[in-house]
Structure formats: structure tokens, C-alpha cells
Symmetry: C2
Subunit: 355 residues, 2 copies
Amino acid sequence: MIVCIDNISLGQEDLNNMKVNEIGEFELIRLLSKTLSDNYKSNELNTNYNEIVGLGDDAAVWDVPAGHQAFTTDALVNDVHFDLRFIDPVDLGWKSMVSSQSDIAAMGFRPLFTTVSLGLSGNEEVDLLTKIYKGIAYASSQFGGKVVGGDTVKSETLFISISMLGYDPSNEFRANPLKRSSAKPGELLAVTGSVGSSAGGLRILLDNTGTLPQSQQLIESHIKPRPQIDTGVWLASNGIQCAADISDGLLADLAHICEASKVGAEIKIDALPVDTDLKSIFPVDWEELSLSGGEDYQLVFTGTKESIDKAISSLKTSVTIIGEITDDYPEIRVLNSKGLHSNYTSSGFDHFANT
Amino acid sequence: MIVCIDNISLGQEDLNNMKVNEIGEFELIRLLSKTLSDNYKSNELNTNYNEIVGLGDDAAVWDVPAGHQAFTTDALVNDVHFDLRFIDPVDLGWKSMVSSQSDIAAMGFRPLFTTVSLGLSGNEEVDLLTKIYKGIAYASSQFGGKVVGGDTVKSETLFISISMLGYDPSNEFRANPLKRSSAKPGELLAVTGSVGSSAGGLRILLDNTGTLPQSQQLIESHIKPRPQIDTGVWLASNGIQCAADISDGLLADLAHICEASKVGAEIKIDALPVDTDLKSIFPVDWEELSLSGGEDYQLVFTGTKESIDKAISSLKTSVTIIGEITDDYPEIRVLNSKGLHSNYTSSGFDHFANT
């Protein structure tokens, strides 16, 4: 059945106070498209990609020069990946984009175009969705990956599914994306930024203990992460061959590298770049938060001492050597000053385990 | 926490009898990746796209020649878009792919690469998921769009989110994708194949009246649709400028064209290509099923009499002229032999409306 809602003579403010099933899909899509175009600022990164068909057709179309492309997808589910009691919807939109932008960064590429599918019960406030889309537009303005398509579907569980295409900014057949499978025994292991801060921020939000001034930086790390795009591009252009982003946690993503490369690894806890606030607020748990906490969206990578030293001296972001790659597949050893702290195998982080 | 499940020494048969949260994410991803590679047969369509990084990294990577690309996304939700009581999981996988392949076809492009995100509670039988992935592999083998990436996430509601990239097979900057916004008053309106068959098949399944032999063809149309890829490519190369796929129903998708082109339309019910079985099983409802039933995945398009006559005589698939484009935006008039049958405005099909 076709429902006519053209005659609703309401402004955007009025619509924002309504629910999705009150304004209908047609008006919702119009409003979300407008939110994207009103809040997107081209960052001059995609000039080789002339958009021919944008939002509102069966598919978006553009012309593309010869080169490398990357393609990734991530889904975020309400009450699993986010909790609207603890995150502003604008930040949720931002973070949903960063999750995919970080995957593109982990290949040494830049975000190009994005599609967004939304699962909605229909009972959501329209305001919630326009805020999510504002965050999406902000993140694509800042880091690339303009939204060119999407789908809105009925679902009892609210979810956001984002797929992103990336391009090799060198615009030539470089053939050296940063792969999980390129780690070699004897290489050093390094990480950008700090680890565990996002998990610390989440813990503070869940425990409602965010009144300390030193909590704010950790909360900010959790709700407003940044993808390491410039760093990924630099690494891929400067001799690094193996990287992954830390979205599932340092150990879990290192495990992905070890599995793909059939290598082992050794990490020194004392070497981990851990925010001093994380240590002071969580004097016991900071180790676990740093090793297993997710959503830092930093990059973990491997390389020779020379190449990593060059990264340390050249990159604006901090780079820290935290251990090395071994030939003891599938073993991941974590050491502290007294010796072996804990031992894992590289079988990955499990989102479905009963335990 | 990292859960070691490497030591499970079970064959694929044993795993298929288990539940997702019993085998864990790591083993599930391994199994689904294997299902894809075991059941995918390259169709020689993607030879210009050398895959460099496939499944199992942060993103897939390939090299691409200069040309046009298309990008689309669709999400399918359990109990909204499908009902596992009425559809075999292999067919569900097939149909999920066809939904996106049809969007690519509606631009005049061919499917290139695909990502699949699955939302799972963890209580699903592994067998259900390997069957869905078999159907996905079959459809990508037949129509293109190899799966190069994905995500599995926890969600109380089972959903499948598919994003697909397409390429212009002419491999040049042709700049004439089939757009919804290109319809012009005075053009004729045509449709491929027949309309309403899929909705008829669904009605038969829901009413459990599928014992009649003439029901089988309609049920087949519902559970095993085919995207009109060759037809879309031919149309884009032979003077047609405006098309959409019929996934939401003929009137709803025609409404998309009218909205995008700011035109009106007139359809003659007597001209609609309707399966004789549909008319015999639904002597009253066939009109509504043909006008508003979804998921036929045929193409509706506009063009001059000459270009549509050429399509009718050249294409293997049937093409039927069903009406014309008018300048009475936003009016869509449906006529029968006695005159005006019904009247709509082009505000689209509404998935969230309360009515």
C-alpha cells in the first residue's frame, strides 16, 4: 500500500519530536538525507572520484581511476555494541563510522564512500536518528567516506550496519596493503597511541564514577575515538607490511595477526603505552583493560627495528615498541618484570561464547 | 577474554549440528569462509579485478581499472523480510544476494564484490548459517558479486546486511547509468518479465494452499528470484536512461521514479504482464498483487517507442509496455478498460507506517 504523507506541513523541528512510524519511511529518508548533506563538508580528499549518482537511487555511481580499493563492513547492535543511556547519539554516529574508517586505515588506505543500513522498530524518536546521522556526517567530513547510499528496515533490535570502500591514496598499483598475514618471526611489535583508555572510559561510564577530572580523558577516548588514517597511509608507504586495528582489544587483534601469519608473539606489559589516568583510576585492572579492552582504534603493527624507529621519529602520533613476533605459533606470551605473566593462543576473541 | 577453541577436533558434520555459541565466533567464521570458498565458482566476469587481500583481514583489497562503479546496501530482518518457516535457508541466502544484485542491475552494472554482516543471537544452529552461506555462494557464482568480507555480531534479532559493489562492464567512462531521475513526460513505461508472481507465491505459502500444480511456479518466483543483470546492461547500452528494480512493488518503485524525475505516470492494468496462474488462483486479488506486491526483482524502465520496441525484439527476457510517463507530477493513475481504476501520489512505500 502506498501511503501519502506529502501533505504533512511540518518543519524539521516538529518532525524531530515525532516517532519514526508517525512520519513514515519516505519522510524519514528525506530527513536523514538532508541531515547528511547539511552536515557534510567535503575534505578535498576524494577529488579523483566524481560522483555521478548519489543518495536516492537503486545504487550510487561514481567514476574511478585505476588503483587499489579496500572494502569493509561493521555492524553495531543496540545493547551489545552501544547503550544509549551512556552515549550521545551524535557520538554513536561518529563512532559507527570510525569503526569502519579504522579498518580502512589498517590496510594503509583512505575512506572513500560509505553505505549505512539502519534497523529500526519504528518507535524511535526521529530526533535520535537525525543525531546519529549528524555524527556520521561529522566523521565522514573529518576522515573521508562520504555516505552515498543506505537502507532503512524494520527490526525489533536497533542496529547500524556500515560498509565502507577505501582507496589507495598513492593512486597507483602499489600492491602493498598492510596485511594481517605479513608478520615475520624476529620482527618487532609496535602500537600507536595508548591502549585500554577506551575500555577504561566505558568502565567509568558503566560504574557511574565519572566525576574525577582525570576520568574525562578516558571517557573521551571511549565516546570520541579517531581512526589512524594518516598513520596507516604513512606505514604502508614506509616499509611496514603488517598491521591490524585494535578494535577487539590488543590481545584479540594481535591474535588475528598471529593466526593469519602463523607466528607467535611476546608482549611486555611494562612496555605498554598506558595512560597514567588509567593506572591511577584502575590500579589493579589497568593490565586487563590494556590487554583485552576493545575500541581503542589504534594500530598494532610489525616491522624491522629500523622501520619502527623511523615511524617513531617521523609520525605525529606516538608509537611504542611493545614486544616481538616469534616462531612459536600459536602462542602469545605476556611478560612482566618477573617473567611470564600469562599465556594465550591465537584463536581470537569470541563474541558468542557462553563463558 | 580470549577463548581457546582450537582443540575442538570435530568435522564439519559435527559442527553443523551444534549451535553458534557452542562453537564460538572464531570457528564459525572459519566454517562460513570455507562454505563460501567450497561453493563459489568464478564466472569469469571479474577478470579485471585482481583480488589482493580476501576474507580474513581488516578489509578486502583488489586492484581496479579506471571506470564506473556502483554501491548499494540492503538489510533483511527475520520475521520482517523472511520467515524461516516458509523459506529454506539456502534460498534465503540466494535471495539476500539477489536483492542487492538487482539494485546493481537496475543501474545497468554487474555485481563485483560483496560484504555480508550477520546479526546472530548465538542460539542458531550452525547448519542454518552454513546453508544461508551456501545460497549466498550459489547466487554470487551465478550472477557475480563474490563475498570478500563480513562481520558477525551478536543481536537478539537475526539479520543479514549485504553491501555490494558493481562495475560498468563497458569498462570506460560511459557516464550513462540507468537513473531513477531520467524519466521524461511522453516516454513509454515498460517492465521486464511478469509482475505479482512473487507476492502470489508468498500468499500461497502463508495460506498453506500450495498443493495446486499451478502454484509451484509462483512459489518458485518468490523463493528463487533472478536479478535482471544482462537486461540492465543491455538497456544501459541501448539508449535507455531511466530504470528501477521492482523490489518494493510496481507502484512503489514507479513512485520512486516519479519522485526522482518529478513526473507523473499512467498504467493500464489490462496491459500488465501477469502470470495466468496468478489470475486463476487469485481471480480477485491478482490486480493488487501485481500493482503492490514486492520482490519480483524485474526492471521497470522508460524510453521512446523506438528504444522500447528494440528492447522487445532484442532481449531474451520478455518486455511489456504498461503505460506512459506524464507531466502530472506527483500523480500516478491506474486505468482499466472502464477508465480510472485508482489514483496514487508518488510518496513511496512505507515500511514503518502504523496504518
